[in-house]
Symmetry: C2
Subunit: 667 residues, 2 copies
């Protein structure tokens, strides 16, 4: 008996040692992938890795050679930003070559910034927008019950994610349905992007919450392999109730300088930092040569992907790309910077308050309090809870404040649409929504984070004002105007990536009024080659065609006008429709007089273009050759922003080619 | 000392008696208003009424003569369907004449089906979509803290409402911000539309949940005035924490046959039931004559409102309204019935499962299990939790089920948009969304419940399929096709009110293909006066104009064609675009050959019309006179569905008038 027990003990010890070794390998590969991508989330991938090792190399019933084996256990990665941890686990388990993981976040790679269902066997669902995986897990677990299948369902979440109300809807339903085939794992690393979870929006006492929602709760040290395995065992033995494993972990675990530091949530290491991290993490079997070889292939892949996409861009008499020569020189600045500047200025009005939903720094909403210390009390962090952010903003607005609620555009428009509609717009409350990272310019993060539908979601709301400014300077003006001069809801769409500055301080800007931009001939600087005025004061010059654009497509439209003139002698009227709602109908309708209209949007095609088409058709009668350029009703993808512009056919070259074709059709 | 105490006791007793008397009055007026409206929510207004009496006639600091007094205490009615209770309380407190309350849910009345901010002083926020008020309350309470104001904030919620995740986002933030100026009141009447809350989606133990979210919790008998007052007092004395009053109540309290019956959630009493309810509730001061007089004025108001709106409808040589004469005779059937029929048939496939979000009966999704008892196990009630409904549906779909998730269109499209986008569409999962009560046809419920934006929200999503069938029969076909023949997400938009049946069993229907409908001359029955075929097999007859419509606007377009021919001799090509996505581009573009296109949608104008405009402009080049008919970028309102069709200018008469004008512009 004693012998058996000690044998068992030795076996268990061995199992733990094996898993700890695997976890170490996974951490190394994970760090290599993030370094190679120069983008990604070290903190939360390192904190979850021991649990991942235990799951994929011990707890789960699964087959790499048959990823869709019906009897496999399911793992739903609700916290999609932990994707690299998933990829390296799948790779080491035999689902894909580990080399593939190094192409993380590259254009064309199956290892998207956030997991995409179908791209790799073993990805059970697309994720990246937090708080959705537990509900999916409930659905999968219900299906098992309905079919009498005995697979088990696991859901990986973060602790910041617990701020999402959808988690509690799902938790309530799991308890209600008594899903004992379901295990939720909360990676409590105590940090989220904006800082300590307890400060951003306290989720504790988390165990009490899950218990009150009908769950068994097991609290463990998420880095103690023995405790992890025991928790899974206990969960398996539990009947009539789902189990939540609250795993206390260390964010950045295993890399000394990353541990317990919020800033390592979503920032990749630079070369020097990687060297140190690699030294701390690496396992003996991985030779320097092997690591170098794997990383070396990434550059090659990247260049090849860029070249491939560049080859699809239409060619002209010479290369007109940004900054290739003096005449194409443009200052580059992200429109988010303009938002920050505008907000910082508007903040002088004491009614202005801001709301943070965790991702505040990158969207420049923090420029508000950075401008003056006293403003700190006018900042409210609501955590990753977009619905509540909008409702709280509504409450603040009705008490006379001017709240600015900001987050990524996908979440700012779509996660809380009903709140924007019913609570904000229907009450006509003075709430300003900062819809950051509009378009594809959030690049490597991929489809889940690329906001390509907000124009449709916002423009259809009565009473909503919607601006999509063309550059950083215009964004600053629009922000100031939208906050201080417009009474009522305003949605400001702006982007992450630096784009050409094509307006000046003195360039006309009026909310609700479009601008006409005309190419006047080559100059030393790109911006000086153009003339801009309010559309209402513009006198037709019988141009050959019009390009109607908004947002960062305006600079592309300008470059297209440049190309069309220089290569084909065609004159283009560019209409910069920075205010999409209310629309400058007169300016849009007048563009029909050129006989050719091409619309340009960094958005699902038609969101903007159809609005223009409607206005043109309603208010003009002549024959018009018309087309729209935009993302062609397809999902975004990971890649470098400018590569993506080419990939989705959104460059000036694409515009110029299509405009030329339309002009040829003109009667 | 003893004398003082007994005096105090007597005063307290008197206060209680006074409030109980007021509560009785409020219940009486409330029942009269709901009876007068022939629509509304008796159950939950009766259960909350003692608390309402205590709030508005004792606890609150407020002034009827100055509703926006900055120092007033705020009450946010998160459960907007309790509106009549709010209105009668405000009336009895002097905010508006009690007679006004009897015009509840009538066109033009400030007493909308759900409260609209600004319509009556004392309405602090628009509500009706559940789960948003607590967040607004948090915002208001934060503003008070920021300004050093000492007003207090109250939020009234239902227990079913606790299923909404947004409630828990708000609850978490209130605890986090330690808002001791905030009191949440949960009217725990244990019932919701679909039955007992514990069965629909158990929210218990509710007190434990709030405690785990950082609240003080006081549990009381919500009909014991002494306990109510004491709870408010206790809340006022509490520092550093918000207070949740969990009030155990009886749904339908005070009317014997309504008590504890789920069916009285949202159904008005008929004349006989009202008589009994009135007898049980009435207070001595209200004479029969007075009650009759008040109710008598409603008919008059109603007729006057109808007449007023009818006067705005364009006139022709004779009255072409539905069923005014034999030739205009049409069978009326709600498209929701068609959905139910289609679903009942599709349910024979064992993969089909359905999800209920509380309002299942009225949207006909229950026809599924009504058709066969064995299907009960394939029905999942998730409660009022639309986000989770979509995630759970996604989980079921990925395990091979065909889930149909249904609720009102506003909530089905907009409350869970991010889940539909990221979890369902991006993963291309086979989820079917039943978007009920599309358009204005949910009538008296008002703007919050009138889905007028779903086309924009759904059509912009890559991979989404969107159908808006024209009548009940077509809805049945579309439902069957969408569930069984389309692989991938489908959104089916259908309506509540009965609308003309204008197709037959043998009428062509192909998903993604539009139909042409042509008026062929007066017949005994309306439907027989038309010929319908697939647009692709239609040969142009050089018609004078085209009307492109979807959903219940198709019958109106047909009546418009009738009018145009009979009154002006104009031939109309009607295009029934039942499938909005994927769009039958060819059919739409071909309509341009008629030179005049008018689009028609029971939706915010442009949601459909701009899509058509885009297709027309892109794919045809000739001059076109074009316009769109729809709700003119404004909010819905309470009223009878057919009155609202007139009010928003959506009738055949409006179409015919505009089409005639466009035709006159045709060159």
């Amino acid at each position: 008996m004693a012998v058996k027990k000690s044998t068992e003990k030795a076996a268990a010890k061995e199992a733990v040692a094996r898993l700890e070794k695997i976890a170490r390998e996974l951490r190394t590969y994970n760090m290599m992938a993030i370094f190679a991508a120069s983008s990604g989330h070290p903190g939360g991938t390192l904190s979850i890795m021991d649990i991942v090792a235990a799951l994929y190399f011990k707890e789960l019933r699964h087959k790499a050679e048959q990823p869709d084996w019906p009897d496999r256990d399911r793992v739903f990665w609700s916290a999609g930003h932990k994707a690299p941890a998933l990829y390296v686990a799948l790779a080491c388990a035999g689902y894909l070559p580990i080399e593939e993981c190094m192409f993380l976040r590259q254009l064309g790679s199956p290892c998207q910034g956030h997991p995409h269902y179908g791209d790799i066997g073993g990805i059970e669902i697309s994720s990246g927008s937090l708080g959705q995986g537990l509900g999916v897990s409930v659905g999968s677990a219900l299906a098992a019950k309905l079919d009498g299948a005995d697979y088990r369902v696991y859901c990986i979440m973060g602790d910041g994610e617990q701020q999402e109300g959808s988690v509690w809807e799902a938790a309530m339903s799991a308890g209600h349905f008594k899903l004992d085939n379901l295990v939720a794992i909360v990676d409590c690393n105590r940090l989220q992007i904006d800082g300590f979870t307890k400060d951003v929006m306290n989720v504790e006492p988390l165990a009490d919450k899950y218990r009150a929602f009908g769950w068994q709760v097991i609290e463990i040290d998420g880095h103690d392999m023995g405790q992890i395995l025991k928790a899974f065992e206990e969960a398996r033995a539990t009947k009539g109730q789902p189990t939540c494993i609250v795993a206390h972990t260390v964010k950045g675990k295993g890399v000394s300088f990353m541990e317990n530091e919020a800033k390592w949530h979503g920032v990749p290491p630079n070369a020097e930092q990687f060297k140190q991290a690699f030294a701390e993490l690496r396992f003996p079997e991985l030779t320097d040569g092997e690591a170098e070889r794997m990383l070396g292939r990434v550059k090659e892949y990247e260049q090849c992907a860029s070249a491939k996409v560049r080859a699809t861009v239409p060619k002209f008499s010479r290369d007109y790309w940004w900054n290739v020569e003096a005449a194409m020189k443009a200052e580059m600045e992200a429109t988010r910077r303009g938002f920050g500047c505008g907000l910082a200025k508007a903040g002088a009005d004491p009614r202005v308050v801001t709301l943070h939903a965790d991702i505040s720094g990158s969207i420049c909403i923090t420029d508000f309090e950075a401008a003056a210390a006293e403003r700190a009390k006018r900042v409210f962090s609501v955590g990753i809870a977009e619905q509540n952010m909008m409702s709280v903003a509504a409450g603040l607005a009705k008490e006379g404040k001017i709240p600015i609620a900001g987050t990524y555009g996908v979440f700012a428009s779509g996660r809380c649409w009903d709140q924007i509609r019913t609570t904000i717009c229907y009450s006509n409350l003075n709430v300003k929504i900062a819809g950051a990272h509009g378009g594809i310019s959030v690049g490597p993060d991929g489809a889940t984070h690329q906001a390509l539908e907000e124009i449709s979601l916002m423009a259809i709301l009565p009473g909503m004002n919607l601006v999509a400014p063309a550059d950083a300077l215009e964004t600053e003006k629009a922000t100031l105007w939208g906050i201080l001069k417009v009474e009522g809801p305003v949605y400001i769409r702006y982007a992450r990536e630096a784009t050409p500055v094509i307006t000046k301080a003195e360039t006309a800007f009026e909310f609700g009024k479009a601008n006409v931009i005309r190419y006047r001939g080559r100059q030393d600087h790109f911006i000086d080659a153009f003339e801009t005025c309010l559309a209402e004061s513009y006198v037709s010059e019988n141009e050959d065609l019009s390009v109607i654009a908004c947002g960062p497509m305006v600079p592309e439209a300008m470059r297209a006008a440049y190309i069309l003139k220089e290569d084909f002698g065609l004159e283009t009227r560019i209409l910069n429709v920075h205010t999409v709602k209310p629309l400058d109908i007169q300016a849009v309708a007048r563009a029909a007089e050129t006989g050719v209209i091409l619309t340009a949007e960094e958005h699902q095609v038609g969101g903007f273009g159809n609005i223009i088409a409607g206005a043109v058709l309603k208010h003009s009668c002549g024959p018009i050759c018309f087309d729209m350029i935009g993302v062609a009703d397809r999902w975004g993808t990971s890649g470098k922003p400018w590569d993506l512009m080419q990939y989705f056919g959104l460059t000036a070259e694409h515009l110029a080619k299509r405009a030329k074709e339309l002009h040829e059709q003109k009667r």
